[in-house]
């Protein structure tokens, strides 16, 4: 059974369709990439899947539940999480606290416990912090264990968002351009991190411009153009697809 099933999805903004009649499925335990030229609707698609936007029509099913228009925080509880192209970092908090916010769903949140800091809450806080430090190690942020988020570089913040999303223990993780703005070394590190995430059984969907990265790690690729599906298949199939070649190279010649 597919983990995510998108059927005839359409989203328009004031008469302009950003996503047009799009259908595809995502199987569990794989790495999927969504590619396409700028303005192809990739980020809009992400926002539709994660509940930030409400679809104009069509259906999005996650783990066999209709989720079109469901609020983001409920989707997170169902096991979906994401990162952002333009970052949604809590700059008013420390790095590890950012990750701890990701663990929110799994923590004890009683008001009385919190106000009085009862021993059970104090213990769980210590454990959570330790766990979140480990997640920071996992994405390669060991040197930022005690840093404030506001003092971190763009590349580090991108990985901090991944750690935060992992803290929520998602089944499906959507990464919006995880390598954008990173140098080659950082890109390779993120590449490694994504592979290790997938190895843990988490399904990964990424929007990415770095073709080398996409071709290297994806099991499956979806190509969008003007909000509609242009092609779909394995990296090898996409590489030899004439429509894709035309879309990417056609304008040049």
């Amino acid at each position: 059974m597919s983990l995510l099933k998108v059927t005839n999805l359409t989203k328009s903004f004031g008469g302009v369709s950003a996503i047009r009649d799009l259908s595809f499925t995502i199987e569990p335990g794989t790495i999927h990439s969504i590619i396409g030229p700028n303005g192809a609707g990739k980020t809009t698609l992400f926002n539709l899947i994660t509940g930030v936007y409400t679809p104009s029509s069509g259906s999005v099913r996650f783990a066999d539940r209709e989720i079109g228009g469901v609020e983001p925080h409920k989707l997170a509880a169902l096991g979906m999480n994401r990162t952002f192209q333009n970052l949604q970092i809590f700059h008013n908090m420390s790095a590890v606290e950012n990750v701890m916010v990701g663990a929110h769903l799994h923590l004890q949140k009683g008001l009385l416990h919190s106000l009085l800091r009862l021993p059970s809450l104090a213990r769980s806080e210590v454990e959570t912090r330790k766990h979140c430090w480990e997640l920071m190690d996992f994405v390669g942020l060991s040197q930022y264990r005690d840093a404030e988020a506001s003092a971190m570089s763009y590349g580090a913040l991108k990985r901090l968002e991944i750690a935060r999303a992992l803290a929520a223990k998602p089944k499906l993780l959507l990464l919006d351009e995880p390598a954008a703005g990173l140098n080659d070394t950082e890109t390779r590190e993120v590449d490694e991190v994504i592979k290790r995430i997938a190895a843990q059984g988490i399904t990964v969907v990424l929007v990415e411009h770095d073709m080398k990265m996409v071709m290297g790690i994806s099991d499956h690729i979806l190509v969008l153009d003007y909000g509609a599906k242009l092609a779909e298949g394995t990296p090898a199939e996409i590489r030899s697809n004439p429509d894709v070649i035309a879309a990417y190279l056609g304008n040049v010649g």
């Binding site: 994660t50 509940g51 930030v52 609020e71 983001p72 925080h73 989707l75 997170a76 509880a77 999480n81 994401r82 952002f84 949604q88 970092i89 809590f90 700059h91 008013n92 908090m93 606290e97 701890m100 916010v101 990701g102 929110h104 769903l105 923590l107 004890q108 949140k109 008001l111 416990h113 919190s114 106000l115 009085l116 800091r117 809450l121 806080e125 968002e161 935060r164 999303a165 803290a167 929520a168």
Partner: protein, 314 residues
């Protein structure tokens, strides 16, 4: 234990200050000013949870302070309730009211939220001003003395220790809350609301929760105020008073519990210090408000703390 010390360093400094301040107190008037400063500080500690940590403005918090005060005054005199029961009933009532209004208005953002909270404050203030049979109208009314387990607080000195203790408790509760999953959720929705939502935080729920909690802090302080002051009048819950509370929070430092306390003390003491040059009081007060925000927009305590940290670091 050391973690406790680290988290509550401010609390210990505050406790020391409260213990030592009476050494400099010459008369009951001094105590009176300090008591009012402490009561304001309790309100502002709660208000700062909403403004500084959760990033939601309220220009109507004096109304909750006033409702608490009137609940205590009315229930202890007209209905002969015990002062603690009256205080509890006031807090519960204010909590319910805050919950009811918070759900619709906290969907609003920025200046629209400021307008809505301001409106609620003005409405409550007009109602209490007008329903004179119940509230005494513009003349106000007084409450029975405050008593706990048979001990009635009559002297200024006993009030000083009572308010000091309550302030310490408020600071402790607020600090605990900020460093809990709830506190992180509040700071997260301030920092990046969409980011908070996608990791599973029901931001509306937390905005409402903190609005209710901060309103109950205000109601609590208002109840104490009612028992301490000779008469409760509608002037304590007007727009100006609401603004004063916000100014205390911002002046002392947003997202800083100790900043709230420092802001409340300075802004309460200042008019008393300036009273000798009465004519210039508003001019100086206004100039201080503008100057602080222009030259240290983060507020007093965070700015000073940052300077100190920079000095410590090599």
């Amino acid at each position: 234990m050391s973690a406790f010390l680290q988290r509550h360093r401010g609390l210990l400094i505050l406790a020391a200050c409260i213990a030592l301040l009476p050494l400099g107190v010459r008369n009951d008037y001094h105590y009176d000013v300090l008591i009012n400063a402490g009561l304001n500080a309790i309100v502002v500690v709660g208000l700062n949870l909403l403004i500084g940590y959760a990033g939601q403005i309220s220009l109507g918090h004096a109304a909750f302070f006033g409702l608490g005060a009137y609940a205590s005054a009315i229930l202890t005199t007209t209905y002969g309730w015990h002062s603690l029961t009256a205080m509890g009933a006031g807090m519960a009532g204010v909590g319910v009211l805050a919950y009811v209004v918070a759900r619709p208005i906290l969907r609003l953002k920025g200046h629209y939220l400021a307008m809505a909270t301001l409106g609620i404050g003005v409405i409550i203030s007009i109602v209490l001003n007008t329903e004179a049979q119940i509230t005494g109208g513009p003349d106000g009314m007084s409450a029975e003395p405050f008593s706990v387990f048979g001990f009635a607080f009559q002297t200024e000195k006993s009030w000083y220790w009572l308010v000091g203790g309550c302030l310490l408790a408020s600071v402790w509760l607020a600090t605990n809350l900020i460093n809990s999953p709830i506190g992180r959720a509040l700071r997260a929705l301030h920092g990046a609301e969409v980011g908070a939502r996608v990791v599973g935080i029901d931001t509306t729920h937390y905005k409402v929760l903190i609005f209710v909690i901060s309103a109950m802090f205000a109601s609590f302080a208002g109840s104490l105020f009612a028992h301490h002051t000779p008469t409760v009048t509608p002037s304590i819950l007007g727009f100006i008073k609401s603004v004063e509370f916000v100014v205390m929070a911002v002046f002392g430092g947003m997202a800083s519990v100790m900043g709230s306390v420092v802001g409340a003390f300075i802004m309460t003491l200042l008019p008393n210090v300036l009273a000798s040059i009465e004519d210039f009081e508003p001019i100086i007060l206004g100039a201080i408000m503008m100057g602080t925000m222009i030259f240290m927009p983060k507020g007093l305590v965070p700015t000073i703390a940052k300077k100190l940290r920079r000095k410590e670091a090599p």
